[in-house]
Symmetry: C2
């Protein structure tokens, strides 16, 4: 059965009032789940992604356990560059590590166009499996935004300063533009193929965009991200755009072609919406560390998020970044219940008067 | 000769128009300078700090080379907790590492009150030396804010998620408050002693405050930082308050008792001032990675900072975070010249009409 157009997640993406506040969690599939650790074994996530039955199972696990309103494909933002042989791997506990970082025009040749059916057949098979298994639950496909993927390729390893990346964009803007343009084409091809295989929505992860000043973001990141988001506009699926520490970038990230703006935990939802058009759909934004702290801080924080959203129908509840590995799944399970139970009243302010004590 | 009250840095702290826009750089003394690497040798920074002649020389090096408008004491925010024997060291390339992290009420006993004259005589000797050597250049003393120092003690090592710290504050707020209260007393004692020895201004570094939501900052960090800043109010020296990724926290950080609000590079100065009282004095905020990228990006970025300050007399030029080790000192040298030359016109908008081409 196809995903109904009035699935809570899809309604919220259109800012249509629904019976519940939809909720899913970035990185909901992963190390926090015992059933994940059981099936996953050792080895790189990039190897696990290449096994459709495994990636399907891992994607489904949190949907079964939590009853979330969306599934998110078990994959990684470096999957496309790894698939075309750029020499990227993900070191557990470290992150993406690049054998020969991107440093000069000659490295552009190592970034040929992505052909999803040829380069990522296993991803498309996983998406196909999932669409069948998920039934009425929407699947969120995703890609890494050109800036963030480029920063991995240029730095070679996780960084706290993005020094090489910023040096490249400022000292050789032509080369930088060529780099992010190729990565934009890859992200676009990947997202189109995921939607073609049945994904109901897409999210562009620009995880580290918040490292940039607004003017650098506008000049060096926005054009390529716009190419990706505008390039899927004709597919008619909601486009979510997310990064961390992006308080000053939210209007630009919306302008890139986002239907839904993801907000990290640093910016209260009311402050975020005040910087954007009033009808903006927001996704977020409970601090993932609160969930690790336990149920009471989680419940308190979640109620604060709902209160700051103030019943706006354009709200998809999520964490402000990915689920942390130390998370107790039972807390997330109760969190989904809380959002569904208490968010409902919030999403239908017209009912509040009748329910309030006189 | 004492520092004159009309030193450019001190005038700007009072938002008084001056002949130049003052400039200094966080971490201006350090690995980016060849003369630093020459005198510094191997070993922990905490050992170097214990040698007043060495710490004095290192503090003076950037003042000599760059002609900056303030010196900043060569020390570290964990100096006080290390001095009372909490078991903290700074691992090169990693950061503060704690042998036995803070985990329970019993650990409070390891945080006895700081007696600066007994515990940090070498720091006070360095300050005394510097005041003599610096002549008319103000010395900025500093301390780590209770939240940031506590996060080092609780995590035991640098973190990207502050999971243990946030868990402690939410699950045992009483213990958390006792912890940051002790650290506030230490910071206060250290700052008062530094001013007593001759420092002309103080900066409270809450480097990682931006990891907190505004409501968590208000509840768990603001009271202790207020205790520190209000506790030096009677000394009559300007109080600077700085952290990274604090766009949403700026009004609270000002409210804590700051005369000058430090701004990281993510928030343009005009956006920062729009969130604060119009007469607010700001310090910042060129992206330190631009300086590594070279002179052209540095000049362009510096002019953008000056333009966004729009001639406001309450502006101290600085980077948005510390000088990166890869920085070429010649670029910083030219940057000081640019700010002094071009910021001057900016700081005296009344002169602009006469100087502008007709």
């Amino acid at each position: 059965m196809p995903v109904p157009a009035d699935a809570p997640f899809l309604r919220a993406c259109r800012a249509e009032p629904g019976p519940t506040v939809p909720v899913w969690f970035m990185r909901q599939a992963g190390r926090s789940l015992p059933e994940y650790r059981e099936v996953r074994g050792e080895g790189s996530i990039l190897d696990a992604i290449r096994i459709p039955d495994l990636a399907t199972e891992i994607t489904l696990q949190p949907v079964r356990r939590y009853g979330v309103d969306a599934a998110v494909l078990y994959s990684d933002i470096v999957t496309p560059v790894a698939a075309i042989g750029f020499g990227v791997d993900i070191t557990p506990g470290v992150g993406p590590v690049v054998e020969r970082p991107f440093a000069s025009a000659a490295d552009l040749e190592r970034l040929r166009p992505l052909e999803p059916e040829v380069d990522l057949p296993y991803v498309l098979e996983t998406v196909g499996n999932l669409v069948h298994e998920l039934d009425e639950v929407p699947l969120v496909g995703f890609a890494g935004a050109p800036f963030t993927v480029a920063s991995y390729l240029v730095e070679g390893a996780p960084t706290r300063t993005w020094t090489k990346t910023k040096a490249l964009m400022h000292t050789d803007p032509g080369l930088w533009e060529a780099l992010v343009d190729r990565l934009a084409d890859q992200a676009l091809a990947s997202l189109r193929a995921q939607v073609g295989a049945g994904a109901s929505a897409v999210q562009l992860f620009d995880s580290w965009a918040g490292a940039l000043t607004p003017s650098d973001y506008e000049r060096f990141a926005l054009p390529a991200s716009t190419k990706v988001l505008e390039g899927v506009a004709d597919l008619g699926v909601p486009r979510v755009h997310f990064g961390v520490a992006t308080g000053e970038l939210l209007p630009l990230m919306q302008q890139a072609g986002a239907d839904v703006v993801g907000v990290d935990w640093r910016v209260p939802l009311d402050a975020a919406r005040a910087r954007l058009a009033p009808d903006t759909v927001l996704q977020g934004n409970l601090d993932p560390a609160l969930v690790v702290a336990g149920w009471e801080p989680t419940a308190e924080g979640a109620r604060d998020v709902l209160r700051r959203n103030d019943g706006h129908p354009g709200h998809i509840f999520n964490l402000g970044h990915g689920v942390l590995p130390e998370t107790d799944p039972e807390v997330l399970e109760r969190l989904v219940e809380l959002v569904h139970d208490e968010g409902r009243a919030d999403a239908q302010p017209s009912l509040l008067g009748a329910e309030a004590p006189s």
